[in-house]
Symmetry: none
Subunit: 215 residues, 4 copies
Amino acid sequence: MSSRKAAPPAPRRDPAATRDALIAAATAEFARMGFAGARVDEIAASAGVNKQLVYYHYGSKDGLYQAVLEAVYGALREKERALSLEDLPPAQAMAQLVGFSFDYLSAHPEFISLLSDENRQLGQHVASSQPVRRMHTPFVEMIDRTLQRGVAAGVFRPDYDAVNLYISMAGISYFYFSNRHTLSVIFGKRLDAKVALAQRRRHVVEFTLNALRPD
Amino acid sequence: MSSRKAAPPAPRRDPAATRDALIAAATAEFARMGFAGARVDEIAASAGVNKQLVYYHYGSKDGLYQAVLEAVYGALREKERALSLEDLPPAQAMAQLVGFSFDYLSAHPEFISLLSDENRQLGQHVASSQPVRRMHTPFVEMIDRTLQRGVAAGVFRPDYDAVNLYISMAGISYFYFSNRHTLSVIFGKRLDAKVALAQRRRHVVEFTLNALRPD
Amino acid sequence: MSSRKAAPPAPRRDPAATRDALIAAATAEFARMGFAGARVDEIAASAGVNKQLVYYHYGSKDGLYQAVLEAVYGALREKERALSLEDLPPAQAMAQLVGFSFDYLSAHPEFISLLSDENRQLGQHVASSQPVRRMHTPFVEMIDRTLQRGVAAGVFRPDYDAVNLYISMAGISYFYFSNRHTLSVIFGKRLDAKVALAQRRRHVVEFTLNALRPD
Amino acid sequence: MSSRKAAPPAPRRDPAATRDALIAAATAEFARMGFAGARVDEIAASAGVNKQLVYYHYGSKDGLYQAVLEAVYGALREKERALSLEDLPPAQAMAQLVGFSFDYLSAHPEFISLLSDENRQLGQHVASSQPVRRMHTPFVEMIDRTLQRGVAAGVFRPDYDAVNLYISMAGISYFYFSNRHTLSVIFGKRLDAKVALAQRRRHVVEFTLNALRPD
DNA sequence: CATGAATGAGCATTCATTCAT
DNA sequence: GATGAATGAATGCTCATTCAT
């Protein structure tokens, strides 16, 4: 039924490679089909490993799903950390962060699909993941410090709190991508067209900075 | 050994009532479980009707899902129309719209779940729905006119286009609700707490108006 | 793999016949393989019905197993009732009962296999079966009355209680059949040989009557 | 991405201890779950050894099961031999044997479960076990001699043969324990209650001696 | 002797859908 | 319009067994 099966068969007797192949295949399958729609059979086949290894290494479909969420969150936050926002002037740092968020979400539709589905399931897998919780502490602190620096320098309004500001900044990019299919129908316009994407990128940066700038 | 029974009395009901019950049950089930996770059996049972009626009235699980999407979109857009933004000064109209979006999404988590899942499926059901397409034409025009009025009156920046503006306005509310479970974990804070909600509502209105206001 | 599949395909659209065919097939399969070893696939196939009907009619493998136990217990107790022991003189009644038990167990090895397996599972299915409980009330009363009649007539010892007496009477036949394979190995002698069976039948009747007779 | 580790230190243990642990664990697991229901994984885990050792030491699940049967039969027959029935007067010897059988079965429910399951499987493991066959020769001879002594002394009826007599004596205890769960339901009375057990023990001894005593 | 990883067939159960009435 | 019975392809997961070290 499936004509993909891209990944080369995982080398035998290499458990780490087996796990890597499973996570990669599962990321794609869970994103494409959702947790409920994904098939363990399909994941194993496209990872080129025996299906039972899913259970050997991850215990269950849920365990694999949680491992996938940890992997994709980890990848995003690592790249974010690499932006070194602390070394930039506040406005520039914020512009960087907004732009990066947009580009990352644009390049990683599977991340959006996974998060959307996880939230429809009330975030149960993330809630029970210690790693996810842990990896976000430094991230929240970074946002907070950047906002404070901007307020202190008089370039940001003083009336936003870091959490709401971040959610707004992330939301204007996330919603564009997460709902691109229904929005495209509603507005009768392909949101993933090259021009539309470029225009949107400029918009989100400007919109955010305009909203941040004091009167 | 096997005993035959007389034909059971055929319990007849109002077909419109049957359809309404199915849509209501399906809306809840699809929102809670996603399209793939929802069970036709469960929907029929919770609607109190025979499973076969799903196929009689809607042809398939997909047909029912599409009918649900049309129903929830229709309900939202109807309420939006009732805001009569055209009769308000532009800034006030925009504030109204942002506040309404926030309140509606807050009150209708099932709408968010359905849209998220539909987008994960690449919007295939909405794409093939004529009604959905049709009901959005007046809505897009309304946004556009309100923006133009504000620009003409000098109270809005002239550099936003209506589509991007609407997506940003909607996105800062939508993302907050659609991703509330993962965001709550990340920020270590319940986003659905009463105080958090009130604070967020103020934030989205101010953030939008600040971004709209010319320098 | 299996070369049986004796039962003719159950006529379609006759639920009672479907259930009967399932019970018959399940009785044989559970007896031969035990609860854990039995395969739902095999049962459905040999009943000539769709596997899913097991779940439609009995809910689960456990539900089917319980229905089988009720069926085989019901069949035995019904035949026992037909003995009309109440109409016979006590000693003759007891001899009848012992002989009947021997013959029934001899003719129904599946009954023994089912009970043995059920007891290895701590009797959980029987314990939760109202029908099994109910059908035994008259049976216990019958044993009791027959014993009392014999004691009153001076032909039975007065020092046995009905429950223990019945268990002993049943046990000397049951154990012979239930453990015939290991006993055959131990004694180096086929217990199911015709001569051995006839000799055993005489033994169990005499042994019981000897034990009952007063000094 | 995949990191190789140095070979883990090989934890060596006494092979005899490994075998003993496996037999003990397997006895419990096979008794509780039956042959088909028992899990090799579970046995190895509860024995605290690597699963592969089951195959190293016993070849297969069947091989392990056979070893368990040999072990439990051996233990019983050894204790029986220790009764030294040959040194007692015949009636006393028979009473001893019956009482011992009752007590042993009462104390070893796993023995009953194993035999019941083995018989449901047509005794195939025992049939192919030379040790089981061998260990029973002296036992059968002992029963026979005791019976003959009693007949010669005029304290036993001359009309029983040793095999049938033994099966009856064993059966009245065995059946009580092997079917205690279903019998408890049928009679509405816990057969494993202390009082019931004491009463049953008296019953089986008296019932047997009464049946043996000449008129 | 002993271990962790891997295999392939199978297992109870589920599910969207259809049929006969 | 509506019902209970039936279907066939899966679906997540298990299990005895084997491999490589």
